[in-house]
């Protein structure tokens, strides 16, 4: 069955982004204050964990580029290496992220190195 985007709805979008050249303002919804508390810069996350990343502190161009590459705001990634560069894995693709960009990306760690969910 094909989905008609004109009638397409999402039950409860946690994040919505609009990007690209000439696009309007970027919005992000659904980030609870708890989420915000759990967020930390990508550069401070442990290697080997999985995390949901937040790109809302990046400028438009960097954010649009990351989204086009498949590193979208709210997507879950595996953090393979922390440092310069940070190496992320999204699905089967790896990305190197320079320290300057990585410092402006925040992440919420969802599972730790051994695969167990984070306590609390």
């Amino acid at each position: 069955m094909s989905l008609d985007p004109q009638t397409f709805t999402t039950a409860s979008p946690s994040v919505e982004t609009v990007s690209g050249p000439g696009s309007g303002t970027l919005t992000s919804r659904g980030s609870t204050s708890d989420d915000e508390k759990m967020r930390r810069p990508l550069t401070l996350c442990p290697s080997g964990c999985r995390a949901t990343i937040h790109t809302d502190e990046l400028d438009l161009d960097a954010r649009a580029m990351l989204e086009a590459m498949g590193v979208e705001h709210g997507c879950e990634v595996e953090i393979c290496k922390v440092g310069s560069p940070c190496i992320l894995r999204v699905e089967s693709t790896r990305f190197g992220v320079g320290r300057e960009v990585a410092a402006r990306i925040t992440a919420t760690v969802t599972t730790t190195l051994n695969g167990s969910p984070l306590p609390g």
């Binding site: 999402t10 919505e16 440092g83 190197g96």
Partner: protein
């Protein structure tokens, strides 16, 4: 047909598979960016394919995305009749997103699921029919590397029609588009990506090593050392062969053509001038072959991060390191390899400063001037050599920083790179890439560079100077003693020839310009002779040594370092003082480290930047900087030696 796809999806491999050597490189109309256009002939089916640059998104505010939009939306001279979208079968989501944007153009479109063999090995399977019905266009599983699926792909292209399925609208949110793509993948893809944890942990370890601040640097130095050692080792023989070949051509032309201006033009102007540039072809071919192999392995993306830590302090990205390093061999391949730098402003800054790096053509001049300065002090001479290289590199980096803060302001593209999977490189691909670069270089050598060398030859060869009385007297004497003492006769003839050459140098337009320009170079300690030497070396730096030898009466054939050194060391000014005192030698050394004295480099800069504005700026900045620093050095050393 336009070929589009994300970077690292094997788009160029597919293009090479379809077109092979039947491809040429052309500029996008009104732009400096290149596109490759190829022809694919299969039976009675002929296709002209335009390989567009790899992009992550059609709507990004990046030059390559704009180019793709302009091409597909018909804003260039020709609108493609069809689009072939290449998708990586092992990671199809981003590719499908690009395919949606392409299909929205309402042109006949085909989707190629490339690397299908690799996907199958990983345990992934695709229902192409299902994905085709979801996208509304044909989908063909292929492997650009092995050639699997090529016939089916070409058949699909010829039958392609505009897409007819309902796709996410351009106004759809990312979340909506992503959900649609996930559903499309879930419906058409089976199996589980068995990207083994073993393979992943090997990749992890390699990534950690290759991007480590110290280990990564050690690996990088090793790889680059091996790369340039290979270039120097392998290029020597074909370079010598090219030299010999052009010498033979020159000899042949000289033997066939009657004496006169046509022969001079052919032998000294065209053949001699082109030989001086074409001799670098082996270096260019080997450099691009090895770079293509390295890029294919996936290593270069990691190396870019290693060097980014250093280069970003000077406003350059990590990718700029390879062009800068290549420029130590010759600025021509260095500037041409700046296309590894994705951002336009970063690339321009790299091209502008790359010729500061000390190339091999500067070596004879360094040997001569350092020999004059530190004769008998090998340690000091060694330090001076290293100092020349460091001065060039420092000037390049500081100039890049200044350029990025003034004429090329703005932030660099964010340093986010896809790290392609490590894999065995394709030799075939590397050969085709280096062939393509070689052809571009030869075309340049045969057009712009040829024109420049003809003009320079004409300036130094005309007007023809009368033979000086001293030369006539020597020739008469040579004729008289010919039978009695043929050896002495030959010596006299050679002496006469040197005097004539000297007279020609001084009387030519170049020589006259030298006389006029002498006051400009006086603050650097240069007299008229030295000024002519400097001016002739603007054609190519290495000419300086032979020019000085000729101007000091040694003849252009004096190429033994010691002979030239002795000749130049003993050279005197009209007032009887030494031509090269310490201050002049030091100021000339600094001048030759920093000045832009290579017309082929300016021609290649023009080609790579698409405008004469950039080579003009490059020439003015480098030569101006060289003049200022040389004048300072001359003044300081003169003051300290006379104090």
């Amino acid at each position: 047909m336009a070929l589009i796809g994300n970077p690292n999806t094997g788009k160029t491999t597919l293009f090479n598979r379809l077109c092979g050597l039947r491809a040429r490189t052309a500029n996008y109309p009104g732009s400096t960016a290149e596109m490759r256009i190829g022809r694919c002939d299969r039976g009675d089916q002929n296709l002209e394919i335009v390989d567009l640059p790899g992009i992550y998104g059609m709507d990004l505010d990046l030059p390559e995305s704009r180019m793709c939009r302009d091409c597909l939306d018909g804003r260039l001279e020709e609108t493609p009749d069809a689009i072939l979208v290449v998708i990586d079968a092992t990671a199809p989501a981003r590719g499908i997103s690009l395919a949606i944007a392409a299909i929205a153009r309402r042109l006949p479109t085909v989707v190629a699921l490339n690397m299908a063999d690799l996907a199958a090995r990983r345990g992934l399977s695709f229902d192409e029919e299902r994905l085709a019905s979801k996208l509304g266009v044909p989908v063909v599983a292929i492997s650009g590397r092995t050639g699997r699926g090529m016939d089916a792909l070409i058949e699909a292209i010829h039958k392609a029609i505009p897409g007819h399925a309902v796709l996410p609208l351009p106004s759809a949110t990312n979340l909506e588009r992503r959900a649609w793509i996930d559903e499309a993948i879930a419906e058409s893809m089976g199996g589980h990506d068995a990207v083994g944890s073993g393979r992943d942990s090997v990749f992890d370890r390699l990534d950690k090593a290759f991007t480590h601040p110290i280990l990564g640097l050690v690996v990088f130095v090793g790889v680059m050392g091996a790369l340039f050692w290979t270039i120097f080792s392998l290029a020597g023989i074909p370079m010598d062969l090219i030299d010999v070949l052009f010498e033979k051509f020159g000899g042949l032309a000289a033997a066939i053509l009657p004496e006169g201006p046509i022969r001079d033009l052919m032998v000294d102007g065209i053949i001699g001038g082109v030989a001086g540039t074409v001799v670098f072809l082996p270096q260019i071919l080997i450099l691009f072959f090895l770079l293509a192999l390295l890029e294919d392995t996936g290593y270069l993306a990691r190396a870019a991060f290693v060097m980014d830590r250093v280069m970003c302090r000077f406003g350059l990205p990590g990718q700029a390191f390879v062009p800068m390093l290549s420029s130590h061999a010759c600025a021509l391949p260095g500037i041409m390899s700046a296309r590894l730098v994705p951002d336009r402003d970063d690339r321009l800054a790299t091209i502008l400063v790359a010729p500061f790096m000390s190339c091999t053509a500067r070596l004879p001049v360094y040997v001569l001037l350092i020999g004059l300065l530190f004769d008998g002090s090998p340690w000091l001479a060694g330090f001076a050599f290293a100092g020349c290289y460091l001065l060039g590199a420092a000037a390049a980096l500081i100039s890049a920083l200044i350029a990025r803060r003034t004429i090329l302001p703005g932030r660099s593209r964010p340093m986010v790179l896809e790290l392609p999977a490590y894999r065995r490189p394709s030799i075939r691909n590397a050969i085709l890439v280096s062939w393509d670069r070689g052809m571009v270089f030869l075309k340049n050598a045969g057009t712009i560079i040829l024109g420049i060398v003809i003009v320079m030859w004409w300036l130094s060869a005309y007007p023809k100077a009368e033979s000086p009385d001293a030369a006539i007297a020597l020739r008469t004497e040579a004729a008289e003693v010919m039978t009695a003492d043929p050896v002495h006769s030959e010596e006299l003839e050679a002496q006469a020839e040197r005097i004539e050459l000297n007279a020609q140098q001084s009387g030519s337009f170049a020589g006259q310009i030298g006389t006029l320009a002498q006051p400009l170079f006086a603050p650097l300690g240069a007299d008229r002779t030295l000024t002519v030497g400097i001016l002739t070396s603007f054609l190519a730096r290495e000419v300086f040594v032979s020019s000085l030898a000729v101007l000091q009466g040694g003849g252009s054939d004096v190429d033994d370092d010691e002979s030239v050194l002795t000749l130049v060391r003993d050279a005197k000014r009209p007032d009887g003082s030494r031509l090269f005192n310490t201050a002049t030698a030091a100021s000339m050394l600094v001048f030759f480290v920093l000045a832009m004295q290579c017309l082929p480099t300016l021609a290649v800069t023009r080609r790579e930047t698409g405008s004469w504005k950039w080579p003009a700026l490059q020439f003015a900045w480098m030569t101006g900087l060289a003049w200022v620093f040389s004048a300072i050095v001359f003044a300081v050393v003169t003051a300290s030696t006379t104090a």
